[in-house]
């Protein structure tokens, strides 16, 4: 696939320069157009852990970062097929009215995204204190599935339970979702917390995540994208790849790298360092292959 190769080599070059990542996409876009409809390639954008409502030293621009991310995604020359937010849309509050206010404001801000196909899910900050009640008023179901160009997307909720379990009912739903799919179906799972024990010492796990992984195991093509840990991370459980995305509010330390999981400090010399979002390019044939491109948030 010529266009994919061109795109990848561009991104590689851009990575070396470390600055501009958008302008060269036009070449890819026109190449994709000439490639015709033979390919079902597409790409989507993952944003995570925006924590709208957070205030504090780890991000002095807490009121502006989400809008900046919206602007950055809107300015991508080639717009994604859809956008997914993998949880912690808002920062938690004990006040149910304030929680709704934050969810409403978040929804208003992201309504400015050019792409209107936006998928949401809660993080523990949105949903754990009221088992997802307020979240559902604004964004509907906390677990669901959808199809896109031959890929089966499954959104799992491992946060509405404050103990971080998926729960038997949802696991039964997952089993029923998977049951009719062929063994080689292209499956992508979105979650907030990791499904595997990344670092249980910091609660970076899902209490019954192993049960979900076990259900997914018989399927040959499964990829999981998640948030929660506010940094890029990649891990395999058997043949299943798990990819954590950066946050849009503050970065967290690498698992176990310091005694406490306190946010990494904001550095005026490198504003927005460690924050960002990602593009995921799905190459359909012969089996879906995901190319992940991490994009930074930048000053300006």
């Amino acid at each position: 696939m010529d266009h994919a190769i061109k795109r990848r080599s561009f991104l590689k070059l851009a990575g070396l320069g470390g600055a501009i990542y958008v302008s060269g996409l036009s070449g890819w876009a026109s190449a994709a157009a000439t490639a015709g409809s033979a390919y079902q390639d597409f790409f989507f954008v993952q944003l995570s852990d925006t924590h709208w409502g957070f205030e504090g030293a780890p991000n002095p621009d807490a009121h502006g970062t989400l809008q900046k991310a919206v602007k950055a995604v809107n300015s991508l020359e080639q717009q994604p097929d859809f956008i997914v937010f993998t949880g912690d849309l808002t920062h938690t509050t004990d006040d149910p009215q304030e929680r709704r206010k934050r969810l409403r404001e978040f929804k208003e801000i992201v309504a400015d995204l050019k792409v209107k196909d936006v998928r949401f899910m809660p993080g523990e900050h949105d949903a754990s204190l009221d088992n997802g009640a307020a979240y559902q008023e604004f964004f509907g179901k906390t677990h669901y599935s959808f199809e896109h160009k031959g890929v089966h997307f499954i959104v799992l909720d491992n946060v509405s339970d404050p103990a971080g379990s998926i729960g038997e009912a949802q696991l039964a739903w997952l089993a029923a979702e998977l049951q009719p799919l062929p063994a080689d179906a292209n499956i992508v799972v979105f979650t907030h917390r990791p499904l595997f024990d990344l670092y249980p010492q910091w609660d970076w796990a899902t209490r019954d995540g192993a049960k979900a992984v076990e259900l997914l195991m018989p399927h040959a093509n499964v990829t999981v994208f998640y948030g929660h840990i506010h940094q890029e991370h990649h891990h395999m459980t058997g043949h299943i790849a798990h990819h954590a995305a950066k946050s849009l509010i503050f970065p967290l330390p690498a698992p176990g790298s310091q005694p406490k999981r306190t946010p990494l400090a904001w550095d005026d010399a490198y504003p927005y360092r460690g924050l960002g979002y990602r593009e995921i390019e799905a190459e359909a044939a012969p089996k879906t292959d995901f190319k992940i491109v991490e994009l930074p948030l930048q000053k300006g």
Partner: protein, 121 residues
Amino acid sequence: MAINNKRRLLLAGAGAGGLAITAAAVIAQTQERVIKVVAKKFDFTPGEIRLKKNQPVTLEFTTLDVVMGFALPEFGLRADILPGTTARIRFTPDKVGQFPFHCDIFCGSGHESMTGTVIVS
């Protein structure tokens, strides 16, 4: 120490009554350390729990406000702490070192910093 004296008296009395086995069990129990841990948003007190290797201990948890969780992953231990009740974990640390524990039931903004350390020497 007064308590030890009392224990010895208890042992002597029990032994005299022909209940040596029961008395030994009582001794084992009464000598065992009990450490009370109080949870509240977003803190465990004490935040440092000092234990001795191979010495059994019972941790007793209460919470002053909401439901909390205590998790000590490196020993595979956890407990739910419900308001108005006492949760107990009895275990014998079998390794030396510093082991983090944390609240594993989301309890609000600050939950992430609700952590502490078990120090086994």
